[in-house]
Symmetry: C2
Subunit: 138 residues, 2 copies
């Protein structure tokens, strides 16, 4: 039970895109270099984010990826769900008992986390990050 590296890459990529100028698409090459990942692998992850409607791809020379409208509303949870899927974290093996008390507790626990992650907008983080950058705090 761990978050996959793909999620890590996705979050960092989104954060980076938020800090980039909106008119110029960023190439996979550059994004991959930033995080020390192979470009081809990153492109898989970006495809998922694109299908989820968070970013869009521009093909051809000077192409790359760019944020889509309403990007300011994108939360951590959105990104995580796009990569990890939306299935429940816990599945009671005794599926013939839908009222499993353990299942109920676990679902509620998962919910606590999701509520928090839904509040965390990636755009807010981008602001904070650039502020730190400006003030010289590393």
């Amino acid at each position: 039970m761990k978050f996959s590296k793909a999620t890590d890459y996705a979050l960092h990529t989104m954060l980076f895109l938020c800090k980039s100028p909106f008119d110029k698409p960023v190439g996979v090459q550059q994004l991959a270099e930033q995080q020390q990942v192979s470009p081809t692998y990153l492109s898989k992850i970006l495809t998922k984010l694109a299908k989820a409607g968070m970013i869009e791809s521009i093909s051809g020379v000077n192409g790359g990826y760019r944020l889509k409208r309403n990007w300011e509303e994108i939360s951590f949870l959105d990104i995580i769900h796009a990569i990890e899927g939306t299935a429940s974290l816990f599945e009671c093996g005794l599926h013939h008992n839908p009222g499993c008390l353990i299942q109920q507790v676990m679902v509620e626990a998962e919910n606590k986390m999701e509520v928090f992650l839904r509040e965390q907008k990636i755009s807010e983080l981008a602001k904070k990050a650039t502020n730190m950058w400006d003030s010289g705090i590393k």
Copy 2:
């Protein structure tokens, strides 16, 4: 990113032990049958719970597993940690940056879940379960 089946088995086993008479140890056979798992596999999981000090094993004929003292304080989180380990769910790949903002958000999210799971005592659930049983609600 999902909880393992082992965690599922562990939780159900602990719940079952809570509902069993304390003086008579329960055999792996019986516990495994209850959950449709192979006894040998279950025994691995039980070993982990034993090492975490939640239960103890009685060897020999009429042996089995039994709850240990202070079992009433055992929380969901204790059990999950015993099986899944206590490592953080999220690890930022860019480990040369300890102040990664994304990491901070994720750790906090994980914390929200853990705080909740720490409050959930397995013994409380056992009480509730037997009440439901008594009142005929399946």
